[in-house]
């Protein structure tokens, strides 16, 4: 037991040391990035100890260290929850981060601020760890905000570029909208359950949890880029590739799903929220898969692929399978980070060319990257017995056999086949065919700093699924029996996607490009979502408020209603009354009419 807690805290301490060292100028040698990378690898190995202990003994632990404050009857402490989710996620995250840091030693080699870059990456990792091991919502919120801030700093790394700044701001804004939901949930818990500790919340088991769970869902929508708050994720590709690999594929964007998974004792009792999550996830996964079909930037395709997988995770939480979703988080980290690193290798080798229409024929010049890319794509699509299969196929089977919304199920299946389609698109355009890039570039991938991390993650993409799913404690009963056609659904749609995509690509290879059809436009313009929401909405709001403030308020209410209307009325009436024609016959006429009317009215009515 002592080894559990002490090695766990040691892991966190190992991560903090380089940050302290750079803050207080203790580390004086030149190779700070290498130092950081080594520390992260040590942290990974140290974190394996508590994980193995946890797997062997099956016991959760909560470390409650320091009593920060007590607000009336609520006690705020620094407490770490070391349970199934955090114990398994930590080594995975640390492994992936280690690989990414080694990769970024190669990728950001020529950057003058590489020390700061590594410090930011490390700070991000620390806040992610805080988020994952938090036992109370306050600590989780600290980690939540921390990853948001670090995401902003890292997306805007090349801040001289206007698009990067816009993208960073966009990420912050969309995350902020989600934070409102998290705060609402925290407030509800504070009011109704008088606590922010997870144990107490689950113990009290409240019944009317619609409001807090909706808040948590909103937070997850913001952080994990579900439909409605999704545009920031493709825009976040403005950051360097290691950032995309670490934050926006493996760790930060899964924080939202992780939050929902943490609260599974509450969600499993609330059918409404489950249905909402299911539908939201289904829409997300299909919509982003459609958007990925026509993108030309390789990083954007992978970003939309991430978004689609996040939707799939949301769908899994929606059918009340949090442990499957968590498994998918862990396996997804491996191959998605590797896909990003392969993209980074391609981009750097082609001297910063990101458009797949200008790549091609790379399987001869970058064989290792090609292997990794193809293996990663196969793992992504759920090829049997690679990593992705152990989580994705189980998810598809669970959806098929659960008593749930058939429409959401169909959307998810279509998205699964589209996954294969856009993976084929990347492979076809980037790797196969004749080169479409300028010929004077020297391409090689000899650098061990590039090869080793990809190699590690490649091994992980192939074997990690098997290893993890065989060693974790079973928390739910997987569906064992189902009709053959249901079991074959995932494979079938994936194969269908592959074949159709390959056929279409080969058939249309030499055709003239016509002007885009409406569906193409829909996909290329990301479903018109950014156009309307980023431009139209604020414009209409500002226009309406300008009209209200200046037209309605200033002009009409303050000026026209009383002062001007009274003065014009008086003027018109006085002109009407005092202009007389002067003809006596008219006056007599008025006398006659008055007389007649009066007599009639007063005598005979």
């Amino acid at each position: 037991m002592n080894l559990f807690t002490s090695s766990m805290l040691l892991t966190l301490l190992i991560l903090i040391v380089p940050v302290m060292a750079s803050n207080f100028n203790i580390y004086t040698k030149n190779s700070y990035p290498n130092y950081v990378k080594t520390m992260v690898s040590y942290a990974f190995m140290t974190s394996l100890i508590p994980t193995i202990i946890f797997i062997q003994s099956g016991q959760d632990m909560v470390i409650s260290n320091w009593h920060w404050m007590t607000i009336q009857t609520m006690k705020l402490t620094l407490s770490f929850k070391l349970d199934y989710f955090s114990m398994i996620f930590m080594p995975v995250a640390l492994f992936v981060t280690w690989s990414i840091m080694e990769f970024s030693l190669w990728y950001m080699h020529s950057d003058p601020n590489i020390n700061r870059f590594f410090k930011y990456l490390l700070m991000f990792l620390i806040t992610m760890m805080i988020l994952v091991t938090a036992n109370n919502l306050f600590q989780l919120f600290i980690g939540w905000e921390g990853v948001g801030i670090m995401s902003f700093m890292l997306i805007g790394w090349w801040f001289g570029r206007a698009d990067a700044n816009t993208a960073a701001l966009q990420a912050i804004l969309y995350n902020r909208i989600g934070d409102v939901g998290l705060l609402m949930a925290m407030a509800w818990f504070l009011f109704n359950l008088n606590t922010w500790e997870l144990q107490q919340i689950f113990l009290l088991n409240p019944t009317n949890t619609n409001l807090p769970l909706a808040g948590l869902l909103l937070a997850a929508t913001g952080k994990s880029a579900q439909f409605g708050l999704h545009p920031w994720l493709p825009s976040a590709m403005e950051g360097p590739t290691p950032v995309s690999a670490l934050l926006h594929s493996s760790t930060m964007v899964v924080a939202g799903i992780f939050l929902l998974i943490r609260f599974y004792p509450l969600t499993e009792n609330n059918k409404t929220i489950q249905t909402t999550m299911l539908c939201l996830g289904a829409v997300t996964t299909l919509f982003t898969a459609i958007c990925a079909l026509t993108q030309n930037d390789i990083k954007k395709i992978v970003a939309f692929s991430t978004s689609s997988q996040l939707g799939l995770m949301m769908v899994t939480v929606g059918i009340n399978q949090p442990h499957l979703a968590f498994l998918h988080i862990c396996t997804h980290a491996f191959f998605k980070a590797m896909l990003f690193m392969c993209s980074g290798s391609i981009i750097h080798s082609l001297s910063d060319e990101q458009d797949i229409r200008k790549m091609g024929g790379l399987y001869k010049t970058l064989p290792f990257t090609t292997t990794a890319l193809i293996a990663g794509s196969l793992a992504l699509t759920g090829t049997p017995f690679l990593t992705g299969f152990y989580s994705k196929d189980l998810i598809i089977e669970s959806i098929n056999t659960s008593y749930t919304n058939a429409w959401a199920l169909m959307l998810t299946l279509i998205a699964t086949s589209l996954t294969a389609v856009y993976s084929t698109r990347i492979i076809y355009f980037a790797l196969m065919g004749q080169p479409r890039f300028p010929t004077f570039i020297l391409i090689n991938e000899n650098n061990p700093l590039l090869i080793n991390p990809i190699k590690r993650l490649l091994v992980g993409s192939i074997f990690a699924g098997f290893l993890i799913s065989n060693n974790i404690t079973p928390m739910t009963i997987p569906q064992m029996t189902m009709p053959t056609h249901l079991k074959m659904t995932a494979i079938a749609v994936t194969l269908l996607g592959f074949i159709v995509a390959l056929e279409l690509n080969l058939a249309t290879q030499n055709l003239k490009f016509k002007s885009p059809s409406n569906s193409t436009k829909f996909s290329t313009l990301l479903g018109y979502f950014p156009t309307t929401m980023h431009r139209l909405q604020p414009f209409l709001n500002l226009l309406a408020s300008q009209k209200v403030a200046s037209m309605v308020l200033d002009l009409t209410w303050l000026e026209n209603i009383l002062p001007k209307s009274i003065s014009t009325f008086q003027m018109n009436t006085s002109m009407m009354i005092s202009t007389q024609k002067g003809q006596i016959k008219l006056y007599f006429l008025s006398f006659l009419i008055t007389l007649a009317l009066t007599l009639l009215a007063l005598k005979f009515v």
């Binding site: 006085s574 009354i577 005092s578 006596i584 006056y587 008025s590 007389l595 007599l599 007063l602 005598k603």
Partner: protein
Amino acid sequence: MNPFALIIIMLTVVLGTLIVMTSSHWLMVWIGFEMNMLAIIPILMKKYNPRSMEACTKYFLTQATASMLLMLAITINLVHSGQWSTMKPLDPTASIVMTLAMAMKLGLAPFHFWVPEVAQGIQLSSGLILLTWQKLAPMSILYQISPTINPTLILTLSILSVAVGGWGGLNQTQLRKIMAYSSIAHMGWMTAAMMFSPMMALLNLTVYIVLTTTTLVMFMMNSTTTTLSLSHTWNKTPLLTTAILATLLSLGGLPPLSGFLPKWMIIQELTKNDNIILPTFMVIMALLNLFFYMRLTYSTSLTTFPSTNNMKLKWQLNPIKTTTYLPPLIILSTLILPLSPMLILLE
């Protein structure tokens, strides 16, 4: 005009009104009205120009019509009740027709069209008699028949008169027309009071006569008939400038001047009878009256109106106009308010 003729005509005017006020036979009332009307025509025609001819003609036509309506009312009353006494209550139909006849004589709306035109076409002194003395006779008849007047009718006449008097006067710069519209508005106030407390109507009439006399005598002193010439008063008779200010504001009903007294009393009588909307409306319309009086005071007393330079140094001979009774009139028209507790004697 030949002074003898003038005296006889004036006496006839006075006699006619007195006959109207004191007779107990309806025919004598009608005779009085006819005497009054016929005798005042030469007074209105002091100058022989087409304008005053037209004014006289219009006055004659409307007043003759009114007298005919009066005769109609008397006849209807005779037919229904068989007697000529003015002390007995009137038949309702006769009452309606007689009210309308009196309204025509007074110049209440919707019979108000002749008042500004007649007032504009005649001399200031004739206008004085027109606007003050001529109101006595019809008001006395209204006072006598006030128990049987149809409330709806008279309140309608009153509301319309107040409104017309207010709005009509806004668009005027000629002083005689302003005084005409002012008389229409005041008549409206009087008839409104007539419904609930005829005594207050008489009070209003008295105060109105005093005020109008003061104002018109002041105008006659300077022979001004337009706002522009009134604005030269500061040069000609500076003392009068202050007096004009006080009198005009009193006409507008501004406390603590006398003109406030009848308005206050009337509003009190109306609200005692649970009538709230009517006095509110009348007071708001009286604001319009006050506005155009204030416009006059603004150009006359409160500012030096723009004028050419030789207007600023008027030289004049010794004035020979006799300012009849002006100082007491000014006092009466501005300082009567503290005497209001004396009204308790009327109860």
